[in-house]
Amino acid sequence: MTRWPEPALVSKLEDPSLNTVDMTVNIGPQHPATHGVFRMVLTIDGEMVVDCEPYIGYLHRGLEKLSENNDYRQAMGYWDRTDYLAGMACEAAYCYAVEKISGVTVPERAEYIRVIMAELSRINSHFMFLGAFGADVGSFGTSFVYAWRERERIYDFFEEVAGDRMFPTYIKIGGVAMDLPDNFESRVRWLLGSINQGLEDLDGLLTGNEIFVERCRDLAPMTAERAIALGITGPVLRATGIPWDIRKAEPYGVYDRLKFDIPVGRQGDIFDRFFVRLSEMYQSTRIIEQCLDQMPGGLVLNPDLPKTLRIDNAEAYFRYEGTKGEYGVYAMARGGNKPYRMKLRSPSFCNLSALREMVVGTYVADAIIILGSLDIVLGEVDK
């Protein structure tokens, strides 16, 4: 049973002659369910949502303009604040894009490190999703705390490697900033064990819960055609059944040497989105294990890198599989040490465009978990 807008509601939206009093409820920008400073204005008729109007921009910092006014190295600090749950992945995407227009090569060891860091960031971000989504559905923070334990360990690990937890600026153009600590491999393997344990816990808490499944199943399903038409990427797209993953489609880094599966859903409902993310985390741990096995020695930073990077006329679009979807960086250089134009195609922003049509016709309580299932990060939406 699908729950798209019922005919009655649709006709009510379009027919002004029937005069019923709807209520407008403002959810956000300060609301526990909006995961940041997102705001949506719901028009509700009793408990049913008849209209939804999202408002964004409360966290706009002018990332693209800031990048134009800082040189390639300095702008890095702004980029890992886009998807602030996966700072390492954003840095990597930025670096790949700049490397693509400048032609700087990256040592192999650094590529592996980047993959490990990006996948750990993905796990981190998805843990945040699982925890917050459980809280949205109403499990009183238990899922949140479960997720938080693993996140804390990952952040501790980042701190050990890079000296900072959320915004490490560890990945540099031409490699990574410094080599790994000595106990790196055993540390990562321990971390992976802990992550697997945390995943088992969360899996048992949420996936095994009848009420949770009942709340999520068959809610706001999205067809593959509609998802493609809206430009949706990432787990939300894969939940509709399309195995589209940039890491497979246009492999960058060393992803073509690694074995992993793309989890896809069946019908694109909330439960599939949840489940795709959960499964992706297992795949990420698999990727990290392979990286540890294959990782060569050697340098981690291109030694031929000039002190100040200057790029002549060049432009490139680099698509990166961010945690939320296709994290596309468009870079354009016209000489000098600063980019002429940087553009971010942020996946959260594009995924958010599906919100209205999914929310209309559902209950208020559903609207909250639909928003949660899109897993937006406001730093990325507002840029």
Partner: protein, 377 residues
């Protein structure tokens, strides 16, 4: 020592003294139960809970109450003044009235009414009025939504609740809470009426707005529901009401189903043991409520109503009918256990049958993974 006699000659004075004692004990219990709940929830969530105020955070309850008393009492400009300000107290009065008839030990309550059971559920239903006043008077849409939800929920769940209590009252043949407790000398009524117990527990969670039925106060949806605009002392009145009614429900439920102060050996071992029994049972009862709260997500409003009207109510009605047959024709009492147990098995079976449709653990779903090589579709 018996508590049945008045402390002083005058029955009014005696009643007032007893009320004061009950309220004081209840308030202290609530203060420390909030601490206990935080510790318990923290343990379930792999945390430590309050640790900083005093040894093991023991002074946390006092710090919290001081903070709440000192906090500014805010009234929104759009609020309906009198409705807004009196709503918290109106929610508290029914709970207080209920505490006055609960038997905490043999003959030890404020007063024992011959219609105690009826009184309890008649009066406990009244605090919805205060909740709706809060929802209407706050001038806030979240509060209004919370009030509407609370009203629908309480009106619906009152019916299975009353049905489950009636089925026990039929067996007991009395509405006197003390007599009902005393009747369970050999076996508590939960053994005779497991289905009624399950229905009672579920409906009680709903009446208390506890997870998974915390829809009226859903923090992630309507951010607190009817008390979203309250602060300081009035907010703490709502909190006090919630916890006090939790205590009232747990004592009431343990009297009805678990034997109250009587089972086991309450009548033989004296009042000390009886009070201990009441304490143990109500603490376990409340801990169960909190356990449920920590682990399950929230239902949606239509699922909540469907569960009430399509599952709980028919089962409760059938049980009432079966009880009637068994009691009128004087069939052996063991049949009560059989029929009610079958009903309980059916209820659990319904839930399990619905849960079977869910996917197994993650590894069971490998079929949906697709190994994709090269460029995808």
């Amino acid at each position: 020592m018996t508590f049945g006699d008045p402390f002083f000659g005058y029955s009014w004075l005696d009643a007032i003294i007893r009320v004061v004692i009950v309220v004081l004990v209840m308030t202290v219990f609530v203060m420390y139960w909030t601490y206990g709940e935080r510790k318990l929830v923290a343990r379930m969530q792999m945390r430590l809970g309050p640790m900083r105020t005093g040894p093991y955070g023991l002074l946390q309850a006092i710090a919290d109450s001081l903070k709440l008393i000192a906090k500014e009492d805010i009234r929104p400009a759009a609020a309906d003044r009198w409705v807004f300000e009196f709503a918290p107290y109106l929610t508290f009065i029914p709970v207080l009235m209920v505490l006055a008839v609960l038997p905490f030990a043999q003959d030890w309550g404020v007063r024992n009414l011959s219609m105690g059971l009826f009184y309890v559920f008649a009066v406990l239903g009244l605090n919805i009025v205060g909740i709706m006043m809060a929802g209407l008077g706050s001038g806030n849409k979240f509060a209004l939504l919370g009030g509407v939800r609370a009203a629908g929920q309480m009106v619906s769940y009152e019916i299975p609740l009353v049905m489950s209590l009636l089925s026990v009252a039929m067996i007991a043949g009395t509405l006197d809470l003390d007599a009902i407790a005393a009747m369970q000398h050999y076996r508590p009524f939960i053994l005779l009426q497991p289905l009624a117990f399950l229905i009672f527990f579920t409906a009680m969670l709903s009446e208390l707005h506890r997870a998974p039925f915390d829809i009226p106060v859903a923090e992630s949806e309507i951010s607190g529901g009817y008390f979203v605009e309250y602060s300081g002392i009035r907010w703490s009145m709502f909190q006090l009401t919630e916890y006090a009614s939790m205590i009232a429900w747990s004592v009431f439920g343990s009297v009805i189903f678990l034997g109250g102060w009587e089972y086991p050996k309450g009548g033989d071992w004296g009042w000390g043991w009886q009070l201990t029994l009441t304490l143990i049972k109500s603490v376990v009862w409340i801990a169960a409520i909190i356990w449920v709260r920590t682990t399950v997500p929230r239902l949606r409003i239509d699922q909540l109503m469907a569960f009430c009207w399509k599952v709980l109510l028919p089962l409760a009605l059938v049980q009432l009918l079966m009880n009637g047959f068994i009691l009128v024709y004087d069939w052996p009492q063991e049949l009560l256990f059989v029929t009610s147990g079958l009903g309980a098995a059916l209820l659990v079976g319904i839930i399990i049958a619905r849960a079977i449709r869910r996917p197994k653990k993650t590894s069971g779903l490998v079929g949906t993974y697709r190994q994709v090589q090269g460029t995808p579709v």
